[in-house]
Assembly symmetry: C2
Homo-oligomer: 335 residues x 2
Amino acid sequence: MGKNRITIHDVAAKAGVAISSVSRVLSGHLDVSEKMRAKVESAVAELGYEPDHLAQSLRKGATNTIGFMIRDITNPLFSIVAQSAEHELRKAGYSMILINSHGDLEAEKENFALFKRRRIDGVIASLVSEDSPYVRNTISELGSPVVLLDREVTGLNASAVICDHASGVKHATADLIKNGFSRIAFVSGRKDVFISRNRIKGYEEALSEARIKVDENLIRLGKFGEDFAYEQTKDLFSGKGAPDALITGGIGASTGALRALKELKIKPGKDLAFVALDEWPMFDVLTADLSSVYRDPEEMGHQSARLILDLIAGEATAQAVVPTLYRRRASSKKV
Amino acid sequence: MGKNRITIHDVAAKAGVAISSVSRVLSGHLDVSEKMRAKVESAVAELGYEPDHLAQSLRKGATNTIGFMIRDITNPLFSIVAQSAEHELRKAGYSMILINSHGDLEAEKENFALFKRRRIDGVIASLVSEDSPYVRNTISELGSPVVLLDREVTGLNASAVICDHASGVKHATADLIKNGFSRIAFVSGRKDVFISRNRIKGYEEALSEARIKVDENLIRLGKFGEDFAYEQTKDLFSGKGAPDALITGGIGASTGALRALKELKIKPGKDLAFVALDEWPMFDVLTADLSSVYRDPEEMGHQSARLILDLIAGEATAQAVVPTLYRRRASSKKV
DNA sequence: GTAATTACTGGAAACGATTCCTAAGTCTAA
DNA sequence: TTAGACTTAGGAATCGTTTCCAGTAATTAC
């Protein structure tokens, strides 16, 4: 067992030099003679020495660790974002601590505290809410740079990766209208966050351009997750004035809606036009040709990693915009 | 900005005591007088002091961090395992560093080295391979306890969470046989790991009890992931002697197989009996009533967390067995 | 009243690195 | 030959904690 750890002192003793010299050789830093380099390197090789990351962090004041906080790593979109970010960060010598907030504000707060205690170098987060005083305080007290996913928090020292939902949703809605639908329902998550505002914006723009009046009763914004969408979908079809098309936002919401439709024996693409916002793995294989608005989660991960590394390097905050793409499939029509 | 960090020295100065006393109060350790406790606590509260995790780790020799390494966090089963483990570990005061190995042995090796340098307290891993000399060496040199997911590595200081695949697969196979199928194909990942061996065991037992001879040509084991299963499925139906039932193992393989079937216009449950090993989110909503062998990923995460915490606490290595459940649905028959 | 125990506190040595400062040695120039 | 510049290497301080060791004051036992 590697009970007794090998430290820089062991290397120094073996090579017959001072520990400061060992450190200098290893960091490739200043002027060291060839002889010194050779001595130290052979001692390092012989002992199989590797510097202790902990001690380095303490001394250098940087942990080379990024905190990644999301509501739900189980969400396939987020898991791809996380994977992609991790890949990118690792190439830059950073590790990623992953934490779920379970969509809970209190947990989110504790997570930030944890990040602070761990002296994380930066945070990538998909927040539960947005732009509350609590968020402002927490982030500014954190003392390390932050990249937010799909959130707009102004006047704060944070970069952001935002997706151009409006555009994709607008295309989708316009296409539904073109296909003859006018009672287009919209079911999604919390209304107080950028992603929902931005999606609704696209939806309303398309309606407005087609001179269709917005029916507030068809818009159901409330909570993330399956349950809310399930209930709202059931409700939409419970009375008179049922919609002829349905757009559902977020993977959880789409799932809930599809479950409700299944129970109601309403077939998307047959009895009802349907567009899902965001796809999930095997979307093309498993679903019966559902239309969607797609965004590239790998790109989101990539951009968030890049932005946080830039901030750590001292650059100014920035925004990266990830495009969305309307993918027309069979369910944009009824047959 | 929280530029100037508040240290234990600041607290000690403010309270007019020695830093050792502050530490003693905070750790609730030995005999401290009520007066001392009060002084320190009010100073802590006033300054908003929180101990630096890094310095604590260095001094105590424990980082309260667990490394979690998987082939692919994008796999929804694994992402649930990860989430569940993280939840459990956090309750015990541990954070989780998540790393992907991308199914690459070289990357896996580097990841272990990283864990070692970071002085991780323990590792939960789903290895690419199993029981190679490399694995033995790496794990024993790691110096910290290890919990393996679905792997059997004997004679090593590692606990394991293993699933009783054999039982679920046996039930599934037997049910297919009972329904009149005899040419049951089996497509899954690498054959040199426990999970595949164990699944095949259940498959062969069911055949043997029904006195059906194993047709090696129907068994396709090779690689994890979509591509391999896609190719093999196509191949199975390319010539004569096509199977009348198909069992596909792992989410990746099932996806690949379903994609191939879709292209071949073979409908599971209609033209072919089909059982998927492992489910994915929304399985019931999205798939056309596919049968499956289910195992509870939350339970796997829970058990792996428990086992690693036990090992850290000095207990002996152990195995946790997670049951599997055959879920008969429409695709166990042809119509 | 003295000795022995106990309760509490402060000082200092770790933990394992980096980095600043200084001093010794080498080399060039006058 | 000596002063000055330049390399190179060692010593010590530092990062922010915990914990061991002593030492003082207070309490108890005789």
